[in-house]
């Protein structure tokens, strides 16, 4: 009998990093959000895709992460997009301060 493990389908993942180039359509599918909502997030300055027009926009893996966090905050905490954008900005600042604290030797 072949072991079950060897019969499992094998799939290879692709890391969505800074080189990733997601279109608006791919990003809105991946975030289960309407494209309009993502356009609003771009207008709020939460993410800055490469390209001029929504049709030619390309998003990186980091952009996707930020969009997802913004959407989660909006859905779970009842804040609007501007509020989610503010929370993200403050989270960035907290993270930067923590990193400086660590660099200075504190934990």
């Amino acid at each position: 009998m072949t072991s079950e493990k060897t019969m499992l389908p094998q799939v290879v993942g692709i890391i969505l990093d800074e080189q990733a180039q997601l279109t608006l359509e791919e990003l809105s599918r991946a975030c289960a959000a309407h494209a309009e909502l993502i356009i609003e997030l771009v207008e709020e300055g939460v993410v800055a895709p490469i390209g001029r027009e929504p049709d030619s926009w390309r998003f990186t893996g980091t952009h996707m992460r930020r969009v997802r966090v913004a959407l989660h905050l909006q859905r779970d905490l009842g804040v609007n997009l501007a509020g989610a954008a503010l929370a993200l900005q403050l989270l960035d600042e907290v993270e930067a301060l923590r990193a400086r604290l660590r660099a200075m030797g504190g934990d």
């Binding site: 499992l8 094998q10 993942g13 692709i14 969505l16 859905r75 989270l91 660590r102």
Partner: protein, 317 residues
């Protein structure tokens, strides 16, 4: 299965008004939201909270829950009473909270498994399947080498009678080297099946690192604390350090203070721009237990008469 005290989870009294429940939810959600909170158990607490709110915010579900009686205690062994659901009707609404419905057995025994409105369609039209998301925890060492993980997902399925059940779907996933915490990995075509002839959705895995006893990770850089002896710090030394890429020889410069960071370029998480490995020096002090050890320290004090560890202004009382 275990009884869940939703009132206790939300920190409200059993007779709390609906707006009080909403306020409690908002407050706790801000505290335990996994994207905001640094609490270790934030994800578990947030999920619990979402489930409690799902029941208590809905007058129908709450009334049914209250009908179980006030004598149940959290964690008690629970079976739904035989007359359960009599006179109650649930309108299977869209779940709030943690997105994909992932409720406890207790919740599912009472309210069933979340039906998703609009998903039971016949294949008369074509629509690409939904994208799925899951989280996967790997060890830091896996990011250096790449790894293969068996991942089990619960996939909702609709049978010919239109009933929803969950099927376990296991995949062997190759996670490439160089992945960092918080990054997503895309597995094309591994999401929900498409309707009609449309393509299936994709599966996204969000990667996290298991906490490591020796290494800390920041973006692509890795930190480790290295204890050294005072004489190694003062006079310099070459020591062996075990790193995620194996044992390396490290030269400690003479006159190194505690907290000094030595950078091993390119030995962080690999990638197009690989990260660096930082070795943070810590000076370990031998204890003075025996008479001869004490005599040694006294002699040292004698030798370093002019040494003032509190020479910096403001340190001295």
């Amino acid at each position: 299965m275990e009884f869940k005290d939703y009132y206790q989870i939300m920190g409200v009294k059993r007779d709390a008004a609906q707006d009080e429940i909403k306020r409690a939810y908002r407050q706790l959600a801000r505290k335990f939201h996994p994207d905001v909170s640094k609490e270790a158990d934030a994800e578990v607490r947030f999920k619990e909270l979402g489930e409690a709110y799902e029941v208590l915010k809905d007058p129908e579900k709450r009334a049914a829950y209250d009908h179980l009686g006030a004598n149940w205690k959290a964690g008690q062994d629970f079976r739904p009473p035989p007359d359960w659901k009599e006179g109650f009707e649930f309108s299977g609404g869209e779940a709030a909270g943690a997105g994909t419905a992932d409720y406890s057995d207790f919740f599912e025994s009472l309210y069933g498994r979340g039906f998703r409105p609009g998903q039971g369609g016949q294949a008369s039209f074509h629509a690409q399947g939904e994208d799925h998301h899951a989280r996967v925890l790997i060890d830091l060492e896996d990011a250096y080498t790449g790894t293969t993980r068996g991942i089990t997902l619960r996939v909702p399925e609709i049978d010919a009678q239109g009933r929803v059940s969950t099927r376990e779907h296991t995949l062997n996933v190759t996670i490439p080297r160089g992945v960092r915490a918080g990054q997503h990995i895309r597995l094309a075509g591994q999401g929900a099946p498409g309707l009609g002839q449309a393509k299936p959705g994709d599966l996204y895995l969000e990667v996290g690192f298991r906490p490591h006893a020796r290494y800390r990770v920041e973006e692509r850089d890795v930190y480790l604390d290295l204890p050294i002896a005072p004489w190694e710090a003062a006079m310099g030394a070459t020591v062996e350090v075990s790193s995620p890429t194996g044992v390396v020889e490290l030269k400690i410069p003479a006159g190194s203070a505690a907290g000094r960071k030595l950078r091993l370029k390119g030995r962080g998480i690999p990638g197009n721009t690989p990260g660096d490995l930082y070795v943070v020096l810590q000076i370990a002090l031998p204890s003075a237990d025996t008479d001869s050890e004490k005599a040694f320290y006294r002699n040292m004090a004698e030798q370093f008469k002019s040494f003032d560890p509190r020479a910096n202004p403001g340190v001295r009382a």
